[in-house]
């Protein structure tokens, strides 16, 4: 099977190289009008098919690796290092992306999947797809080169084949780990598609903005995958790493955040291009940098440029990524310089307060956030270069610099929808702003009376309540603004059709799914911010607990029912059974564990968490006191954490809504049909 895998990878490389070269030749011939021995269209068709075939070949390679994992083929070095016989099936499958070579293979496979769909759907615009397919093939060639020559997943073990493997890193033996990396990669890789379309459209000087329409769903789906990947990672960190938090500003976490920020900016500003033909240069560079940041993120993870807890992924292939990044940048720059006159805007911003300029500010702030993250991540390297010593840039830095930017962004989320397209005069603004401002004020008063004092930041070093105050009060403002937007729109529809307000809201959303789906996503973001602001009120206690001893935290009393140990082929475990009481009523029983994995000889905490909408009771078994033999239990009471995951759910729902095609605006269509029977019905598209 390893031979088959290696062969499939080599074949895939050859096919992709053919797609790239034949594609370039064909497109060149078509552009210049030159004729070769076979018609350029036929050549382009073989290039397209070769791209599709490369998907089959890459799939075969991925299958070979999974096959090897499931059949415990420890002659393959990668399987030896990332699996063992006792490993449960799902984690054997996850072994495909738990190491460097496997994750590169996953990356290449996902890329070929995207390429497959893109090439199958080439009829949306044959020429543009031909360009995009060729560019995508270039990216595929890079990853396949890596897989064939720098990090081959099928290299064999020298000498006798060991009886059992070294096992999977216990940190990764967790359900989320089975889906978090593929999600994240789907996001990273997915930006290659809008990137390829944007670059292709620029190369061929595509007339109009239709290419945005074609890539819109791609971009949204990719963005959704990246969002889910990031939050699954956060949830994994929260439930596995056992330090009571979900985001540690680790360089690798930051690496996933950067393309997300620029991708979000792109999703917004591209609307201005689609609707008003503006900001073309900006958008092209946004998607270029999003893709390059995705590659840069991988580079950060792999190269060991910055120190990170994800260091298990480090290796020498960093230089390959540097090379690739330079090539991508050069191609982008060259194409841009050659065709920059094609990107002249059709309209200009007319006012400082229109929705267009609110998009502009939103972009600016997102980019500033991205820069802050990039800056913080790379500052240690810069510091070493300039002043000769490394420094640490972690939580406290980002809390002071990045979080305020995030809150400002939340504020823009609220006011953006209140402004109309093109200019909005102050009179209309005042009208729309009153209600959200009242909501802000009321919430602020309520918060202060509840003891959240933002001015504490001036007297103590505690920033938590300051941020919580602003996040929650601005959140209330945004929610009011969004609700008002829904109600106002629904009111118009209700007046027209005589429907009740709920039916009208549904119809409103279906008429313009992208806008109202987008508002739902914004609502999800607010919910996440509120969840995060709960952090300001975290509490924790660490205590040694004997039988029937208990400890109180917040409204809960945690009593030790028993503690014991157990053993199975995969791991040994020590655990405590804790009864949780609220008042006199027993709420639940928690069983925090400390595992010791046999194959990898590594310990691992298993967190026990009782999650409610108000707070999480998050319990860790921190080991035994060697003197008394009693378990040490660490308990966190983390308010509002559940809302973060709920917010993500809302975002997924909102994006789902936005992905739906618009319903034809019923009354507009009927009217235009009546007025001019010959006119084609214009379908809506925001």
């Amino acid at each position: 099977m390893p031979t088959f895998g290696s062969f499939a990878l080599l074949l895939s490389l050859a096919l992709c190289a053919y797609t790239l070269l034949a594609g370039i030749v064909a497109l060149r011939q078509l552009a210049t009008g030159a004729q070769g021995q076979i018609s350029p269209e036929r050549l382009a068709e073989t290039a397209r098919r070769s791209g599709i075939a490369s998907f089959v070949a890459t799939t075969a390679a991925a299958f070979a690796l999974v096959w090897a994992a499931f059949n415990n083929d420890f002659s393959v070095a990668y399987i030896l290092h990332h699996s063992n016989r006792a490993l449960p099936g799902a984690y054997k499958f996850a072994a495909l992306w738990s190491g460097q070579e496997g994750s590169l293979l996953l990356w290449a496979w996902l890329l070929s999947c995207y390429g497959f769909v893109l090439r199958l759907r080439h009829k949306v615009d044959v020429k543009l797809t031909a360009y995009a397919s060729t560019i995508l093939a270039g990216i595929q060639v890079f990853f396949l080169l890596l897989l064939n020559f720098a990090a081959p997943p099928f290299s064999l073990v020298g000498g006798a084949v060991p009886q059992d493997g070294f096992g999977l890193n216990p940190l990764l033996q967790y359900p989320e780990m089975v889906i978090h990396p593929p999600m994240l990669y789907l996001g990273y890789v997915g930006f290659a598609v809008p990137f390829a379309f944007a670059l292709g459209a620029l190369m061929m000087r595509y007339p109009g903005e239709k290419w945005i329409h074609i890539t819109r769903r791609w971009t949204m789906i990719t963005w959704l995958f990246l969002t889910c990947g990031i939050f699954l990672g956060a949830h994994w960190a929260y439930s596995v790493l056992g330090w009571g938090g979900y985001w540690g500003w680790d360089p690798v976490e930051n690496a996933s955040l950067m393309p997300w920020l620029t991708g979000t900016a792109f999703l917004h500003s591209v609307m201005m291009q689609e609707k008003r033909g503006m900001m073309k240069t900006w958008n092209v560079w946004l998607i270029f940098s999003t893709f390059m940041l995705a590659i840069f993120g991988t580079l950060l993870t792999r190269s060991g440029l910055v120190s990170s807890v994800h260091a298990f992924a480090q290796s020498s292939i960093g230089s390959w990524f540097w090379g690739f990044l330079i090539v991508v940048l050069s191609v982008c720059l060259f194409t841009f310089i050659m065709n920059r006159d094609h990107l002249k805007a059709e309209n200009k911003l007319e006012s400082l307060v229109s929705r267009e300029s609110s998009f502009l500010f939103n972009n600016l702030v997102l980019l500033a956030a991205c820069f802050t993250v990039l800056w913080g991540t790379l500052f240690p390297v810069l510091s070493e270069y300039v002043q000769g010593n490394k420094v640490t840039v972690s939580g406290p830095f980002y809390n002071r610099v990045a979080v305020p930017i995030g809150i400002f962004l939340l504020f823009l989320t609220g006011i953006g929808p209140l402004l109309a397209w093109r200019s909005a005069s102050f009179k209309s603004i005042r009208k729309n702003f009153i209600l959200p401002c009242i909501a802000w004020f009321v919430t602020a008063v309520v918060l202060i009376s509840c003891g959240v004092h933002p001015w504490d930041i001036f007297t103590t070093n505690e920033q938590g309540s300051f941020y919580a105050f602003w996040a929650i009060s601005i959140g209330a403002m945004v929610v009011t603004a969004i609700s008002a937007e829904f109600l106002r729109g629904a009111g118009v529809i209700a007046r027209h059709t005589g429907q009740n307000i709920f039916a009208a809201i549904v119809q409103l959303t279906r008429r313009n799914t992208r806008r109202y789906g987008g508002y739902i996503v914004h609502f999800g973001v607010v919910v996440i911010f509120i969840g995060i602001s709960g952090q300001a009120f975290n509490r924790q206690v660490t205590q040694e607990l004997d039988f029937k001893q208990s400890v109180s935290i917040g409204p809960y009393r945690v009593e030790c029912a028993s503690y014991s140990q157990d053993s199975n082929p995969n791991y040994d475990t020590e655990y405590a059974l804790l009864d949780v009481y609220r008042g006199d009523k027993k709420v639940t029983q928690l069983a925090p564990e400390q595992r010791f994995y046999t194959a990898s000889q590594q310990p691992q905490t298993m967190v026990a968490n009782h999650s409610t909408l108000a707070w999480d009771l998050y319990v860790i078994y921190a080991g035994k006191n060697p003197d008394t033999g009693r378990p040490i239990i660490k308990i966190f009471l983390n308010p509002l954490v559940a809302w973060i995951w709920i917010g993500v759910g809302i975002i997924v729902f909102g994006t789902g809504v936005a992905l739906f095609p618009n319903m034809t605006a019923a009354f507009a269509a009927s009217r235009s049909r009546a007025a001019a029977p010959s006119t084609a019905i214009v379908q809506g598209g925001d």
Binding site: F7, E41, R42, V126, W421, G684, G685
Partner: protein, 91 residues
């Protein structure tokens, strides 16, 4: 066994890629007319949007009138060109 599998994969994929296709999709450049129709659709959508937002109370009368005029002018220019191009005999 492995050699057979490799050979089979190679054969199938090569046949698929180079199998002579009778009907090949033409790669044609978008015409000016198609482009104008796209523009018209977008402008119509913007106008509908403007109307809707006006009804929803996001504009004062003056703003609305000015912007409607702008968009209508733009759309009318596009429509005029469409009519001109459609009147011409196709080459």
């Amino acid at each position: 066994m492995i050699v057979v599998a490799c050979g089979l994969l190679l054969l199938v994929l090569l046949v698929y890629v180079f199998y002579p296709e009778r009907h090949v999709e033409a790669q044609r450049q978008k015409t000016r007319l198609e482009y104008l129709h796209e523009r018209k659709d977008v402008l119509y959508e913007n106008l509908r949007d403007l109307n809707f937002e006006y009804r929803a109370g996001k504009f004062v009368q003056d703003d609305y009138a000015a912007q409607q005029a702008d968009l209508e002018n733009e759309a009318a220019e596009v429509m005029a060109e469409i009519e001109l191009l459609e009147a011409q005999p196709t080459r």
